[in-house]
């Protein structure tokens, strides 16, 4: 067996603590979402019948990082961190000097249901 590594794993202690919110860094802000009746920009109260308030606040947040709730990190532990692999055999099959990596999310129960 060669000592070429193909799989890069993180320990469970490195499951991220925060989600990253691109809205903090986008050069131009996202255009407003409009109400289907009034065609005016929508506010949190308009969305309240559809979504939980915590998600509505995340939807419009401009904070760069949002802490992941402990309950969610506990569930992430069931399959995260997911592996990063280097597709060395595919590189050989393609006879390419490129290095090909892939992040494999297939162990997540949410990855197969849509």
């Amino acid at each position: 067996m060669s000592n070429e590594v193909v799989r890069f794993d993180l320990p469970q202690s490195e499951i991220p603590h925060h989600w990253y919110n691109i809205q903090a860094d986008l050069p131009r802000p996202l255009p407003p979402v409009l109400h289907p009746g009034t065609k005016q920009p929508i506010g949190p109260a308009d969305l309240a019948p559809l979504f939980p308030m915590a998600l509505i606040m995340q939807e419009v947040s401009q904070e760069r990082y949002i802490e992941i709730p402990e309950e969610v990190r506990e569930i992430y532990k069931l399959w995260r961190p997911t592996p990063l692999l280097r597709a060395r055999r595919l590189e050989k099959a393609l006879d390419t000097p490129a290095h090909i990596y892939y992040k494999y999310e297939g162990a997540s129960p949410a990855a197969v249901t849509s």
Binding site: E14, W19, I22, R28, P31, I42, Y76, R80, P97, A98
Partner: protein, 294 residues
Amino acid sequence: MVKISYQQKPYRRAIMQAFGADVTPSPSDKTQAGRSILERDPNSTGSLGIAISEAVEAAATSAGKYKYSLGSVLNHVLMHQTVIGEETLRQMALAGEYPDVVTSCIGGGSNFGGIALPFLRENLTAGKKTRLIGVEPAACPSLTRGTYAYDYGDSVGLGPIVKMYTLGHDFVPAPLHAGGLRYHGMASIVCEMYDQGLMEAVAVHQLETFQAAVAFARAEGIIPAPEAAHGIAVAIREALAAKEAGDKRVILFNLSGHGHFDMSAYDAYFAGQLEDYEYPQEEIDRALSALPQV
């Protein structure tokens, strides 16, 4: 669940049932939105836009008992998926490399957002120059051939109006198309990234995606979801371009799921039943005339 998927992908339905869900095929007679679609077309096989209309109505009329949970498109969904890219940044460091190209399929934009947004942050704030490439099917080319305009997120026009690259909210995909990624619009975040020149978009035909999927499976031992195979197709294109140019490009793609529940799509591919399908220009032009006036 979109009726055609309910019929063609019974195991995805069974997975949801295993986790405790009641699953209704859409369009259904349980909502006003569903009934209005069935009245016009009793044989409708549904679309994501119609299913969203029904879900929105069910939540809005439940007096707080139900909420609507969306698995893609919305800002917070893409944000939740950023754990994928955050982990990958650290893993690439373990590998001692940094990607020149990051790619994955885009349907509503969640798995692409998940892998690409942390790398976009590095581009915007740390001087990195990674190319971010979203890959869509030529049969549902929202970014590459759609129009950036305000449109309904759902088919009936019950939900919010969002500015996005859209094929029109009454878009119904070709039944021949086996690879998923059939939503008429796209996440607002992905649309702004595209409009602001922060990412590239490519449309690929389904035969190329299945060829890429099979090449990947034979080399790496994982059968990819047909959706994920769109990203693999572009990773392979980039690897071949690197060979042509003689450069040592580092290419990263997100393998968003395995294909074990999509073997009927592979079956159709192996039996030679899949064809490439170019979404017709007349349809795009027609859809533009149906955009809401804002």
